[in-house]
């Protein structure tokens, strides 16, 4: 029976054409099982009565065709091809009584089951999506009233909380013992603010040090902060095109001058 089937050459012209179309579309398939399911439709029979042998042959033709066309198939397509070749041989050869493994019929039945199950899920998915859907066919209340989901957490604060919070920070500021710490920090914003009005007068190259704020040069910590901020501010002003900066050699003093309109 199996011999008969095979000698009939189950791969008809139509099948070949179908297989070619499949190859062209191979990216559109979701793996070997999807291809098998599509191929099985060419048999035009109930999935439960499908000829797995013919299907295996169709699939192998599909893979060979792809090879001939030098289309690269993902590994799982080739694994499936190898498995189907194995299955085909099992189905065609008389069962070996010594063989412990499952029979060709059992394997074929499982493959048919997988295809039927996949098709069933696809049909179910289609039926599910065809149902009336919330927000498309039927609708919830457009304007929920004060009622909210139970266990919603809302946060509240009163104006008094807000004012007390602000007062707290402000008061703390005044008492904070580490206010002194902040004294030793000269920010880039402060440096910029200081330098902007000053650079207008810097027609000639001037050492950056002269821009350090008064009273920041004694304490090394303060001096370091002021220098860093002033340097950063200088770069910013250069970037903005208000100033030029130079340093003749490593560790030499950094010099600044106003950028003149005539340059370039």
């Amino acid at each position: 029976m199996n011999d008969n089937l095979f000698s009939e050459d189950p791969v008809s012209v139509a099948d070949r054409l179908a297989a070619e179309a499949l190859i062209v579309d191979v990216d559109g398939f979701e793996g070997p099982l999807d291809v098998l399911l599509t191929l099985s439709r060419t048999q035009k029979v109930d999935l439960r009565k499908i000829s797995v042998l013919a299907l295996a042959q169709q699939y192998l033709t599909f893979v060979e065709k792809a090879r001939a066309l030098r289309i690269e198939l993902a590994a799982d397509y080739l694994v499936m091809a190898a498995w189907l070749a194995f299955l085909k041989s099992r189905l065609l050869l008389p069962p070996d009584p010594d063989d412990e493994g499952p029979s060709g019929e059992e394997l074929a039945a499982h493959l048919a089951f997988q295809l039927e199950r996949l098709q069933a899920m696809r049909d179910s998915a289609a039926r599910l999506m065809a149902r009336d859907q919330l927000g498309r066919d039927f609708f919830r209340r457009g304007q929920g009233e004060d009622i909210r989901r139970v266990r919603t957490v809302t946060y509240s604060a009163t104006l008094l909380d807000l004012m007390q919070g602000y007062a707290r920070i402000r008061t703390r500021d005044e008492f904070r013992p580490f206010v002194m710490d902040r004294d030793a920090v000269f920010t880039m914003e402060q440096a910029l603010e200081r330098m902007r009005p000053l650079i207008g007068f810097a027609g000639t190259w001037t050492d950056m040090e002269t821009y350090l704020p008064d009273g920041w040069d004694a304490d090394p910590v303060r001096r370091r902060s002021a220098t860093a901020a002033t340097f950063a501010a200088s770069l910013e002003l250069v970037k903005e095109g208000h100033m030029e900066i130079k340093q003749s050699e490593t560790f030499a003093p950094i010099q600044l001058r106003k950028r003149t309109e005539t340059r370039d």
């Binding site: 979701e30 179910s124 599910l128 149902r131 919330l134 609708f139």
Partner: protein
């Protein structure tokens, strides 16, 4: 549970309101809420001794054939517009993100096979499930994590959510179209390939058990 209140003065201080009044209350709460409300939530809001389930039944009957309907979603109740009037609602229609074929199939597999592991989804579809597909369904709150499967590796399972039921107008997951037929045809079985020793025994029993108790879980 409660009958009409006792009028002879022997009743308790806090009488349950008459059924018609309870029905009004349920009506008001369901109308006000965009999301489904459970019987428990309703009774927590209603006066002591109220029977929300009974009021819901009355209300549901009252709205039969109206422009809005009282529907059950899992363990909760909601008012929704009648689907045949959807054409009036163009303005309210929310543009839903188009789901990929992979996402739709994955959703259907979770719904019909739940609780369902990722490996099972892959086994059914014959391809690996991309992380994004599961993430998208989780993000839409159509699926959520179920209990871990008691098989080696204790894989996580996925189940559908009340939001899923609400979205597709299902009272519970057992109402999925064609579920019975699929089960009868053996297509919801997790049949191991021949020659493989099944992992864990009694797959089928476990499945049935889980599906029936699905929405009582939390």
């Amino acid at each position: 549970m409660t009958d009409a209140p006792n009028e002879d003065g022997t009743g308790t201080l806090f009488e349950a309101p008459p059924p018609a009044e309870q029905e009004r209350m349920v009506e008001a709460v369901l109308f006000a809420s965009a999301d489904p409300v459970t019987v428990g939530d309703l009774e927590a809001r209603m006066p002591h001794g109220s029977n929300a389930a009974q009021a819901l039944e009355l209300l549901q009957r009252r709205y039969e054939g109206r422009g809005v309907r009282v529907v059950k979603v899992g363990e909760a109740w909601a008012i929704r517009t009648a689907p045949d009037l959807g054409f009036l609602m163009q303005k309210e229609t929310v543009e839903t993100r188009k789901l990929s074929r992979a996402a739709i199939e994955t959703l259907a597999i979770v719904a019909y096979h739940q609780p369902c592991t990722r490996a099972e989804i892959e086994e059914i579809r014959g391809v690996s499930v991309s992380r994004g597909t599961i993430d998208q369904l989780l993000e839409m709150e159509w699926i959520r994590l179920g209990r871990r499967r008691m098989t080696p590796g204790r894989p996580v399972t996925f189940v559908v959510t009340p939001q899923f039921l609400d979205h597709f107008g299902l009272e519970n997951a057992r109402d999925l179209p064609g579920l019975k037929e699929l089960r009868a045809a053996g297509l919801l079985e997790n049949r191991p390939p021949p020659g493989m020793i099944p992992l864990g025994e009694g797959q089928e029993d476990e499945e049935d058990e889980d599906q029936s108790e699905l929405f009582e879980e939390e």
